[in-house]
Subunit: 197 residues, 2 copies
Amino acid sequence: MAAVEFWYEFASTYSYPAAMRIEALAAPRGVKVVWRPFLLGPLFAQAGWRDSPFNLYPAKGRYMWRDVERICASLGLAFARPSPFPQNSLLAARVAVSLDDEIRPEFSRRVYLAEFAEGKAIARAAIAGVLDGLGLDAEARLAAAEDAANKQKLKAEVERAAALGLFGAPTLVAEDGEIFWGNDRLEQGLDWAIGKR
Amino acid sequence: MAAVEFWYEFASTYSYPAAMRIEALAAPRGVKVVWRPFLLGPLFAQAGWRDSPFNLYPAKGRYMWRDVERICASLGLAFARPSPFPQNSLLAARVAVSLDDEIRPEFSRRVYLAEFAEGKAIARAAIAGVLDGLGLDAEARLAAAEDAANKQKLKAEVERAAALGLFGAPTLVAEDGEIFWGNDRLEQGLDWAIGKR
């Protein structure tokens, strides 16, 4: 079965529609999606950015908000701006990497919905609420996420993202190393995974 | 008849496939394309960039070259990297704004083909060659392009691009002011122009 890695960042606006629609695009193609949460902050810092480029470059930011609004409207997805933007996504990412493969996608979608459909901060309370809603023991899961070994696991994921040449999110990585950046490249990346070029 | 403004930059890689395919996308929708060459350099300078972001941010640059190569392959377009990149596009832009609306699109496509299909520098000799190929008086056209009034015309276009909120190329601007950035937004922008949302 062909597989693609789906690299996403919880603070990333375009990762939200991508996370919501990728499984529906992958299923008819018979492609397995490997969900890989990571952090863009360290990669942006290497580029000299201490904030989201959407804040650093206001024209780009204005366009992005309108563009994501249009994308969500076309998908029938609610959309709200969390404040501040970008949200600190460290805890969400740590929890996501700590979870089993089976639960990570649904946890991730629910975090995105809290953040970008409801406009909520993805701080401890919201993450605990998502874990509760999934029938998980929130306190135990948060403790596991903040365990030193798990923190290191997320760090290694960020290092792997940098080594793969990633610079934004969402990004698909095919088994042959081809990368496809952006919500609007999901179809192309999934087609690539099954040899449709 | 609905119209869209097609804002493009001769040094921009993604503007090349966009210029080559936009009329074929616009015709069946009954949309008139208004070709508006401009310069990104002054806008990038305002953002603090003294070079193409694809050079300033190497991971982004590596991805762009591969992405444009894939796009051109899928469209059956030849693709070659001009050296240096980005090319100085000032003369091409000045000539393009000086030409009549009827000839500007074909002039622009031929410049893109010289630059990104053949990998040639778009300096004076190449521009003169394109003008010759169109049956125009190259020397007279180049002189007209470098006339003070025409230089001012291009400057005004760049100012208008900034006022519209443009930050990259290619960009479509609909009559209601909606903007659509990128070669992969042409279909969406043209659909928007005819009320298909």
